[in-house]
């Protein structure tokens, strides 16, 4: 069996790590970089580009260069998050046959799992070139607050990349693992992860060889991208005021603005003022127009203040769920490129009353933790045991459209929970079990993972039959649900692993296509 790898599939950047000489290391790509942009594009000559090459053509070929699709994966086309992405997107996002958002480049509409699969395949390749042997198995990380559907789509992406996905683990948990390997003794750890697209906060406890996730919270649609967007809006408004030209409809201009906005944002992490200089941004009446302005750190901080505060709200929720106060946390680990922003670091420091830990590389630590977990699974030595939780409550829809939680969020997995339900009408012979995930008390506001019907209930007055509904999450995070009529013993169940936005036929086809397109590395 080949080597296992760990992949941090980020919104903005991806990173791959392998285990070598008794420790995890990050593998640089052929350009020498330890992270690879999570970008995919099709060049004018039809060539497919991934990573830095795709990023290089982003401005000149904005409509055919795709980025940040992690913000779309596992969502429905009509979700507000998808709609918000659509609004600003220089590339075309269309409604797929399963109501999923797809990216159209020329003739072809790419599904989000496929794009993620292309990026994963690249990361797999980076590892293979380094190791000089084929790689088949991986642990892939996702934001802790990802729903089951989003996780399932990521699993599919792994398959499309030709990988067997050993486990999908949470990004902050992976970071904590990598951090925890270097520590001894008991600690309560907070991991604050603000990346390009998502924000996660997890509180963990480490003691005698066990790393237990106490609670996790976050927002899968809050990250550096949103800061960039605020800057772009600011620039567009400024330009409209001075030049009286609206740039919103211009894909290339938008892409240049986004690029410049991100650069300015990063500059402002070390400087007080950043210059934004975009010559020939557009033309008006045959006259070329230039955008030339400055942004101060103070302006930036005003623009994004509420985003940073939003993250602190999640931190408080998470602390409450963990039953801890901020001062009881012994160590704060910050992860994700966006935590380089001084304002973020200050906010975290203020909130926890301590400076964050500086010993880990915020870009690499997640991939390192992923390969550590892979290694701990397949190898005999088990130094650290991970007790992870399910981030969102699971339950079913009950009479009146209510959501009955069977497994509460932050429950350690694996777990089985059962509860007895009954009929609501006389002589009702069937019940519909709608499996949901989320935190709303209203069933319809939660994510539908699947549904099935238990029929053949003997006729009885309402409230008489006893129907036991049982939820199970196994150690790999797979959810299965069964319903049993206690009187007759008849039972129906589903494994909730078909919640991807891809149908199984589509998935098979994609796996085959990408397998065929692969130039195999001889091992």
């Amino acid at each position: 069996m080949g080597r296992v790898i760990g992949i941090d599939l980020g919104t903005t950047n991806s990173c791959v790590a392998v285990f070598e000489d008794g420790r995890p290391i990050v593998v640089p790509n052929s350009g020498g970089y330890k992270t690879t942009p999570s970008m995919f594009g099709v060049a004018d000559d039809g060539k497919r580009l991934v990573g830095h090459l795709a990023k290089r053509q982003a401005i000149t070929n904005a409509r055919h260069t795709v980025f940040a699709t992690k913000r779309l994966i596992g969502r429905r086309f009509d979700d507000t998050e998808a709609q918000r992405t659509l609004e600003f997107s220089p590339f075309e996002i269309v409604r797929g046959p399963n109501d999923d958002p797809r990216v159209r480049i020329g003739e072809k509409a790419f599904t989000c799992p496929e794009i993620a699969g292309i990026i994963l395949r690249r990361m797999k390749r980076v590892a293979e070139e380094y190791l000089g042997e084929p790689v088949e198995e991986a642990v892939i990380t996702v934001p802790a607050y990802f729903t089951d559907t989003q996780r399932q789509c990521t699993r599919d992406a792994g398959k499309i990349a030709g990988l067997e996905v050993l486990r999908i683990i949470n990004e902050p948990t992976a970071a904590a693992l990598a951090y925890g390997m270097t520590r001894h003794g008991d600690e309560k750890i907070a991991v604050y992860d603000l990346g390009g697209g998502t924000f996660d906060i997890s509180i963990l406890e480490m003691s005698s060889g066990v790393l237990e996730v106490l609670a996790t919270a976050g927002n899968t649609f809050l990250g550096g991208e949103d800061l960039d967007r605020r800057i772009v809006t600011h620039l567009v408004q400024g330009f409209e005021k001075t030049a009286k030209i609206d740039l919103k409809g211009d894909a290339m201009a938008l892409q240049r603005l986004k690029d410049a906005a991100e650069k300015a944002k990063c500059d402002l992490s070390v400087r007080e003022v950043a210059e934004v200089n975009l010559p020939f941004i557009t033309s008006s009446g045959g006259e070329p127009q230039h955008l030339n302005t400055e942004i101060s750190r103070e302006t930036l901080e005003d623009l994004v203040q509420d985003i940073v505060e939003e993250t602190l709200k999640s931190v408080d929720e998470c602390l409450a769920d963990a039953g801890l106060s901020a001062s009881e946390v012994n160590q704060v680990v910050i992860v994700g490129g966006q935590t380089r922003m001084p304002m973020v670091q200050e906010a975290v420091t203020r909130h926890f009353g301590r400076r964050p830990h500086k010993g880990v590389n915020p870009d690499e630590v997640v991939a390192l933790g992923a390969v550590l977990h892979a290694h701990m699974l397949v190898e005999e030595e088990k130094e650290l045991l991970l007790l992870d939780v399910t981030p969102l409550s699971l339950g079913i829809s009950t009479f009146g459209g209510h959501f009955a939680r069977l497994i509460e969020r932050n429950t350690t997995v694996p777990v089985t929970k059962a509860h007895i339900f009954t009929t609501t009408r006389d002589d009702q012979s069937a019940v519909k079990i709608r499996v949901l995930q989320g935190e709303s008390d209203l069933a319809e506001e939660n994510d539908l993972l699947g549904e099935f019907i238990l029929a053949g209930i003997p006729l009885a007055p309402k409230g008489e039959p006893e129907i036991e509904v049982s939820f199970d999450i196994d150690s790999s995070g797979m959810v299965s649900v069964s319903a049993r009529d206690l009187a007759t013993g008849s039972e129906q169940s589903i494994a909730v692993n078909s919640t991807s936005t891809l149908t199984s036929e589509e998935l098979e086809q994609l796996v085959a296509d990408h397998e065929a397109g692969e130039v195999r590395l001889k091992g």
């Binding site: 005698s208 089985t416 009954t422 019940v431 509904v469």
Partner: protein, 315 residues
Amino acid sequence: MQEQESGTAVGRRVLRLAPGFDPGGIKPSSVEFFLLSRIDGRTPWRVLREMGGMSVEESDLCLESWLAAGFVEVCHSDCGDQGLRRSLSCEGSTKVSDSLRVDPSLDLDLQTQRRVTELLGLLEGPDALLLGVSDEANEKDLKRAYFKLSREFHPDRYFRRNLGPYRNQIEIIFKGIQKAYENLSRPPLASSVVRDAVLRKKENGILSSDSGHSQDESTPGDFQGLRSEREQRARELMRAAAQAISQNHFSEARRCLEIVADFEPETPFLRQTLAHVRSRSVDPVEAVVKEEVGQSLFSSPSRKSETRHRYVRTG
């Protein structure tokens, strides 16, 4: 003392009323009456003793005394296994003990195989015993024990190993450990589902509405929520009946019991008691419970409340 060992084997015993037992023959307090009413040939001792109304020790004592007096008897159904099987029902595994033979061909050393069998045996017992902590263990001790057992039994420890039937059992043990830890480390809350149901009922009258949205029609209602309310109601009525019997108000007792019989599953006790009060209420002259000294069944360890007084056997 008996309560010391009531953890596993004793706790698994299932009691039923002795054939020909006449509930009119004893004069229980209302809490004792309630306990008696719950003896149905299905509920194991360890559940009965936690039924509430009196302390666990008092319940034990009470049950022991009834057993000694021949009011109740142990039915020898294979109840331990049944209880276990119920808790495993979602795994779909039926006979745990059969499939779990020590098997040297598995990728699991024999010592661990024996540990699995040992822990499976503790699953139905008290949580503290499963975790191997004393009843007074503090949060720290609990966590230490929980982590230690997790390191031993978390399924990730055995990733991809050939464990045969042990794979399922190890997962079941881990879930059991986790549940025990949860139970002990937090004050027991009413399950949120039940909590929700109660709230919801207040808002929407979920029970009474015959037809809701057509879309909702087939979604289930909360049974445990309803059942706990029903049980609460039954308990109140049974207590009222007991009160009435002790004051020789048989017609009133009869009314209470008839209501209970209307919506509770009929237990032998309920049937017999109802028969008893019916016979008494039609013939009030006979309706005298003798208070003369009879055989003393147990002596009270405390004089705390009305739960403590002597039983007499008439005739």
